[in-house]
């Protein structure tokens, strides 16, 4: 087992801020970022923003996103460190911020992301060309490959994916910032035509606009701030090769990320109160449930059909509605939700007594895996 260099209470999340998610015609991503950062500063009770000495942002493959230096200028501050990741989805960017805190490079780091790409609420996200010769396009293809294989091997079906969307909508109805709050039935889902068979339109995230910010701090600083800190206990990560490996699209790299994050946190799936899955498609949820060990291999369909992942279930998944319903900020909003759930601030969608939250994600064409565990004070 690898030891993680930082201990479980070294890195605290002390503030979160989010804008409404959905369409923001004509609004610059920097306006959305500023709104989210101001909300996070107020949430943390940090009045003097010059205390921020780290600014981490992200850009995406489509060029959307924000620049950390420009955001700092906008805030009128000069942090010790500014940085961003290309393809900086939520978990990877927050790990970057956490490493700055854990190693003592920074005291207070703002991690922020905002974007306003064209086609909000309409266009499929994940536009990319993997092979122009044969028309292999859009990141959702990885999910379609995976679910075709899963159905053939384990006898699962498309209704499982439908139940994921139906569940996400149930939660989103309790989330005032969510883009898609209207309810949906399994019949309505199944009546939709295929887009990339076996996926329908509702299985694939749409582009949305919005902003989100998290503020991280060293634990001794965190204790003097307004809210009870939430701690980033551990992160696990794994890179996998391309399709040269067998079962690439069944996301076996998750198993390595799972072993790392549970090992470093000294936990197992049984310790997780609420699970946040970066759901660029519905397929991410059953594959996470199996590969992380929340259920047996091939058993996610029954697990999901039992209602376990929904409101009042044994393992609520994405109580904010996920990217499929709340809005697609590439995993960043899941981190805001983890903090709010662990503080007990989520109102109707609050998971009762949530003390431990886990985040999981896959990246690129099933080539990066990451999971982190957040714990209440």
């Amino acid at each position: 087992m690898r030891e993680q260099i930082w201990s479980k209470h070294d890195v605290a999340i002390v503030g979160v801020g989010t804008t409404r998610q959905g369409a923001h015609p004509g609004v610059s991503p920097y306006e959305l970022a500023l709104e989210a950062i101001e909300a996070a500063l107020a949430d943390a009770g940090i009045d003097d923003r010059t205390r921020i000495d780290g600014m981490i942002t992200a850009r995406q493959l489509d060029g959307s996103g924000i620049d950390p230096l420009d955001v700092s200028r906008l805030l009128g501050i000069a942090p010790r460190v500014t940085g961003y990741l290309d393809y900086g989805t939520g978990g990877f960017s927050n790990q970057y911020g956490a490493m700055l805190i854990a190693t003592g490079v920074c005291d207070i780091v703002v991690c922020a992301f905002a974007r306003n790409p064209p086609g909000a609420l309409e266009a499929f996200s994940g536009a990319a060309t993997y092979d122009a010769d044969i028309g292999l396009v859009n990141a959702a293809a990885a999910s379609a490959f995976g679910w075709t294989q899963h159905m053939a091997r384990y006898g699962t079906d498309e209704a499982t994916l439908g139940r994921v969307v139906v569940t996400a909508r149930k939660f989103a109805a309790m989330n005032p910032i969510a883009a898609w709050q209207e309810s949906l039935s399994l019949e309505e889902y199944l009546a939709q035509p295929y887009v990339i068979k076996p996926l329908r339109s509702l299985d694939i995230v749409k582009v949305t606009a919005g902003g989100v910010a998290l503020i991280m701090a060293r634990s001794d600083i965190a204790r003097d701030l307004r809210k009870k800190p939430v701690y980033l206990h551990a992160v696990g990560r794994q890179q996998t090769p391309d399709i040269g490996e067998q079962d690439h699209f069944l996301c076996r790299g998750m198993r390595s990320a799972a072993a790392q994050v549970y090992g470093a946190a000294g936990m197992s799936p049984a310790d997780i109160d609420v699970l946040l899955v970066s759901d660029a498609s519905t397929v991410a949820i059953p594959l996470t449930l199996e590969n992380y060990g929340f259920c047996e291999e091939g058993a996610s369909a029954n697990f999901i059909a039992s209602g376990a992942i929904g409101p009042g279930g044994a393992l609520p998944v994405n109580p904010h509605g996920g990217q499929l319903s709340e809005g697609y900020l590439v995993g960043w909003l899941h981190h805001a939700e983890m903090v709010r759930q662990l503080r007990g601030e989520c109102g109707a969608r609050q998971v009762p007594g949530a003390k431990v939250a886990q985040y999981t994600t896959t990246g690129r064409f099933r080539e990066d895996y990451l999971s982190s565990i957040y714990v209440a004070d």
Binding site: D133, V137, A144, A152, R153, V195, K197, L199, F249
Partner: protein, 132 residues
Amino acid sequence: MADVLYDKESDEAFRAYLSKGEIRLQCCSDCKGFRYPPRFACPHCLSRKWHWEKVSGEGVIETYLWYCQPVDPRFADVPYNVAVVRLAEGPAIYANITDAVLDDLKIGQPVWANIETRNGRPRLSFVRENPS
């Protein structure tokens, strides 16, 4: 595919063989491992020495999908499929199975390489019916 790995010269050589009716993959001259898509170094042993080796053209469908609506305006001729074909020699390759209609594909199904010309360029696809 990261552009830095894409070996245009080798890709063109691969297509030149296709236009002669031959399917050849890069084969490491040291460890004899096959690789696809073309790259300048062997991913197994990092050797830069390699040659073009004829392959059987036989493969098995590992997984597949069907584009039923155009998600990209360049590929509006739907439905069409893309499969992950595991070649008998080891490498996996993304390809269209050109003699299948919707719902006609199965995981584990054997497929055979087929050389066709599209947009004036030779390309590799696969078919379900053994052409020989």
